[in-house]
């Protein structure tokens, strides 16, 4: 094999190893799209956005800076907590209480010469499409499904067939304990996050009557303290889940109830876990998933090797490390009835005897809807509006009417909006059980 030329960057010594790979083709490189001589300069001019500066975010910033990206922005509204320090390696004990985005950006800028990182300590919803349009790649390290759905809907909405710059790849990582996943979304071309929504099934809630009258598990006692005793006794004006005094109060209440019913297993740690919905998190899984995301970002930015999300190819890597190591890399398909990137209404199983209130509750727990504050209308009339207050009051009486009484028919389409996703109109076709 004749040696293929390396096109060194402005700092040829520093980026020696990276340049060998990113500027010359390998046996799997698509030569129709790869242009080695342009790679370094292209990357110098690219802007990448990182959403989240937590467990994944810290890793993402390090990895992108050492992948040759020069201009990075990062958004995170959170401040640093002591429980972050076992994995969020850009933070020290003295940083507790400071903004994650600012500390992380400053740290990586000082460690890696020549990279610029701009922090934004706010919510992603505070920026508009013009802001997101300036980036060529967006990488997410989030723990909230809602934020993922929002950025996904925004990026799909931004696509303008006439304007190639409106088309921004979204790379998304997520972890839980020893497990995680990374995926690439090319808005309108591959399956989007909303298409895959039913892969994140919301955790089943314990029925209120179990909590209130027949507890059997330590979690039931903790939920009783949290949902019932707190509201009744109001020991502090507002529950602060990060205040040890508040958690201790809940713990003692839960413990007393557990003793009353002879239920073993209520501990402080478990109380905190249930109340804050804590998900175990470790450095190693975050390292794996974040590096996988950035590996895809480098391949997308350079075309030096095939990436996840190419047409008709795999776009999703699922990782599991509890029992040996296992990855499952596959293709998720676009769904024609996706409310964000499809155009067909999605079937929704309902019961004619349901009240509108029950329909609305079903929208919250249905794995492919997961809408917590839905407003509902048919083509003919408005059934329920969350706001403005006047309209809410006017439509509230419908809540207790059954679907039959409201005159809904098999196959009829309802339109649903939710303030969490202002750019999306969810369409459902009713199917009677």
């Amino acid at each position: 094999m004749a040696s293929v030329e390396v096109y060194p960057s402005i700092e040829p010594l520093r980026w020696k190893y990276l340049d060998r790979i990113r500027t010359r083709p390998g046996p799997f490189t698509d030569l129709d799209v790869f242009e080695g001589s342009a790679v370094a300069q292209n990357m110098d001019n690219m802007k990448v956005l990182v959403i989240g500066a937590g467990g994944l975010g810290c890793e993402l910033l390090k990895n992108l800076a050492l992948s040759g990206f020069k201009n990075i922005h990062v958004i995170d509204m959170d401040t640093i907590d002591i429980s972050n320090l076992n994995r969020q390696f850009l933070f020290r004990k003295s940083d507790v209480g400071k903004f994650k985005a600012e500390v992380a950006a400053a740290f990586v800028e000082s460690r890696v010469k020549g990279v610029s990182i701009t922090p934004h300590k706010c919510k992603i919803q505070e920026f508009d499409e013009d802001f997101y349009m300036q980036f060529q790649i967006i990488v997410c390290g989030l723990d909230s499904i809602e934020a993922r759905r929002w950025i996904n809907a925004t990026l799909v909405d931004m696509v303008d067939e006439e304007n190639p710059e409106s088309f921004i790849p979204l790379i998304d990582g997520g972890t839980e304990g020893f497990q995680g996943q990374s995926r690439v979304i090319l808005p309108t071309m591959t399956a989007c996050i909303e298409c895959m929504l039913d892969m994140h099934v919301p955790r089943a809630q314990v029925p209120l009557c179990t909590i209130a009258t027949i507890p059997r598990q330590p979690e039931h006692c903790i939920e009783w303290a949290h949902q019932i005793a707190w509201d009744k006794e109001k020991p502090f004006p507002k529950l602060d889940k990060d205040d040890p005094e508040h958690i201790t109060w809940l713990y003692q209440k839960a413990l007393a109830r557990a003793e009353e019913f002879n239920i073993p297993g209520v501990t402080y740690s478990r109380t905190q876990g249930v109340v804050k919905n804590i998900i175990p998190a470790i450095a190693s899984t975050n390292a794996i998933i974040a590096a996988s995301c950035c590996n895809e970002a480098l391949k997308i930015a350079t075309n030096c090797a095939p990436f996840l999300g190419m047409p008709e190819q795999n776009n999703y890597m699922q990782y599991s490390g509890n029992d040996s190591i296992y990855t499952y890399t596959f293709q998720t398909e676009k769904k024609p009835d996706c409310p964000v990137c499809g155009n067909r209404a999605r079937d929704l199983d309902v019961n004619l005897g349901w009240t509108l209130k029950e329909l609305i509750e079903a929208l919250a727990v249905n794995p492919s809807a997961q809408l917590k504050k839905p407003s509902v209308r048919t083509e003919k009339k408005t059934l329920y509006m969350q706001s403005p207050p006047g309209l809410e009051e006017q439509t509230r009486p419908n809540m207790d009417k059954t679907l039959l009484e409201l005159g809904l028919e098999e196959g009829e389409q309802i339109g649903v909006t939710d303030p969490a996703f202002p750019s999306v109109s969810f369409k459902f076709a009713l199917r009677f059980k």
């Binding site: 094999m1 190893y17 390998g26 059997r216 740690s269 390292a287 974040a290």
Partner: protein, 538 residues
């Protein structure tokens, strides 16, 4: 047993300590016992090449609080290091790489101790480092390594029975191997919670039978509230009895019988109530296929029963003493000790707690019987009863890694094994399209293996080295492609691939040190182009 002790502990009224708060998110995975094991571990990293993958691994071990680490690395920091290694900065240029990385890693966690060798360039003496350090819990080394250094590590590993992890990362590819000094049993495997339910509905013991009978004596005349709160375990026990009465005492074991039995249970659900059904009966119906099952011996514990420890030291270890006792228990009762956990189910609090206590009491009774057997053998009196309790609780999920011969530090190249695996993998690949299985990643391992001791190679050199290790593999098209991809990197690491690999290696090191969860057996290969892994036993 531990569980009982914890229940009786007075409530802690103050919050967690600062250390517990810092490690909260990981303590939920490996508990205080795992944390203590990590904190007493002493690791050695023998670094080489670009040196990133080893340092990234250490980062993921320093953060969760490993006790102590030592880096052996005789490289001096060059400009190229700064483009790939995050634990170096402008001030590191010209200094010893081991020193700079150690110092920046220690910033991550003040509770961790770290050291480096050699102190000055050209002063590397690995043998001396090993001889003068306190015993290492585990050694990691990265390729390319000098054969002389490898020989020193091998000798140490053999002498001290030290687990050795070898790691190689170049371009888009990497692999790592865990070489364990002998069979490696794990009791605390953390199986999926839903998998652990073992209700013994076909072999109920007198207390459970009595309890179920008492609740279902007049099942049809119970009021709706009581009927709707019978635990599903009790419902199934009741209707299993009814089934046997009409089937010559036999249980519904064939699939068609189970369906018929399920229909029977379904038909007993009351639907003339305001809810139009009963949740507890729905739970019973849903549980039939899973719970109406004769107990069988899972493959993991079967392997433990069949294994013959060869080493006298191994033979006298608490694990093997307990395993032998559990085996005797199994031979006597034809079932494993009852694990004792009961899933949540629709039931009145008091009834559920009683049911839970019946299972717990049986579990304690079984564990006590095993403990007696343990204490009857030489050395058995020294075994911690808590360890017996944990073994009994997890018996169905106990796992033995590295059980068959080989796999130790001596077997970096087991030619016979490699040839067998290669033949199998290449033949699978020919069928891959029909069987819809992903292609083997063995070619990546072979191409990296061919550069175990050299900084960089051409495609032709790599292919010819592979042909020496695995005759005939040199003509395989995918092997040639992998060789070309490895040649492209010229021994250089990509930060992302090394960060990802460092994550996996750290995870596996944690499993080996804590003896929790199940480590790989024994080689994990990563393909950064296709974004996937494969684990092979080589």
């Amino acid at each position: 047993m531990t569980e009982v002790v914890m229940e009786q502990m007075p409530p802690v009224l103050h919050g967690p300590t600062e250390k517990q708060r810092k490690y909260d998110r990981q303590l939920r995975l490996w508990a205080e016992s795992g944390q203590a094991a990590l904190e007493s571990a002493n690791l050695l990293l023998v670094n080489s090449g670009c040196g990133t993958v080893g340092v990234e691994t250490l980062k993921n071990l320093v953060l969760p609080g490993i006790g102590r680490f030592t880096i052996v690395d005789d490289a001096v920091v060059s400009e190229a290091d700064l483009g790939v290694n995050f634990f170096l900065d402008e001030g590191s240029l010209g200094k010893m790489r081991g020193q700079c990385s150690t110092e920046l890693l220690l910033e991550l966690n003040p509770e961790v101790h770290g050291d480096w060798y050699p102190k000055t360039k050209g002063d590397l003496n690995l043998e001396k480092v090993l001889a003068t350090s306190s015993t290492f819990t585990l050694i990691m080394y990265t390729n390319p390594i000098r054969p002389a250094d490898l020989a020193i590590i091998q000798a140490y590993g053999k002498q001290h029975k030290t687990p050795v992890v070898l790691v190689h990362s170049a371009g888009f590819y990497s692999y790592f191997r865990i070489l364990l000094p002998g069979a490696f049993p794990i009791v605390d495997t953390h199986p999926d919670e839903t998998a652990t339910t073992d209700l013994r509905l076909l072999t109920p013991w007198p207390e459970l039978v009595e309890f179920a009978k008492e609740l279902t004596r007049d099942i049809d005349s119970l009021d709706n509230h009581v009927h709707g709160h019978l635990p599903f375990v009790v419902i199934l026990l009741h209707y299993l009895d009814e089934w046997r009465a009409t089937h010559d005492g036999a249980y519904p074991l064939k699939y068609a019988e189970k369906i018929a039995f399920r229909n029977l249970v379904q038909s007993k659900m009351r639907t003339d109530n305001p809810e139009g059904g009963e949740e507890n009966f729905e739970e019973a119906v849903a549980a039939v296929l899973r719970a109406v099952q004769p107990t069988s011996l899972p493959s993991g514990i079967r392997e433990v029963f069949d294994y013959k420890p060869t080493d006298p030291q191994e033979d006298g270890s608490p694990f093997w003493i307990i395993a032998e006792a559990v085996k005797k228990f199994y031979e006597k009762h034809r079932c494993l000790p009852v694990p004792g956990n009961v899933p949540d189910m629709k039931a009145e609090s008091e009834v559920y707690i009683k049911l839970q206590n019946i299972y717990k009491a049986k579990a304690r009774q079984d564990a006590a019987e095993v403990l007696k057997m343990v204490q009857a053998v030489p050395g058995g009196r020294d075994v911690d009863p808590a360890e017996v309790g944990l073994f009994c609780k997890n018996a169905a999920f106990v796992k033995l890694i590295n059980a068959s011969a080989g796999g130790g530090i001596d077997t970096i190249l087991n030619s016979e094994r490699l040839a067998t695996v290669a033949a199998q993998e290449f033949s699978n690949d020919e069928m891959a399209e029909e069987t819809l299985t992903p292609l083997s990643l063995l070619p990546i391992y072979l191409a990296l293996y061919a550069t175990s001791h050299v900084e960089s190679s051409t495609r032709e050199q790599i292919v010819s080295e592979i042909a020496k290790a695995v005759p005939g593999a040199g003509v395989n098209q995918r092997v040639v492609q992998a060789a070309e991809e490895v040649a492209r990197a010229e021994g250089g690491e990509l930060h992302n691939i090394s960060a990802l690999t460092g994550g996996m290696v750290a995870q596996e090191v944690i499993k080996v040190i804590t003896k929790q969860y199940i480590p790989i057996d024994n080689t994990c290969i990563f393909d950064g182009i296709g974004s996937r892994c494969q684990v092979l036993r080589l």
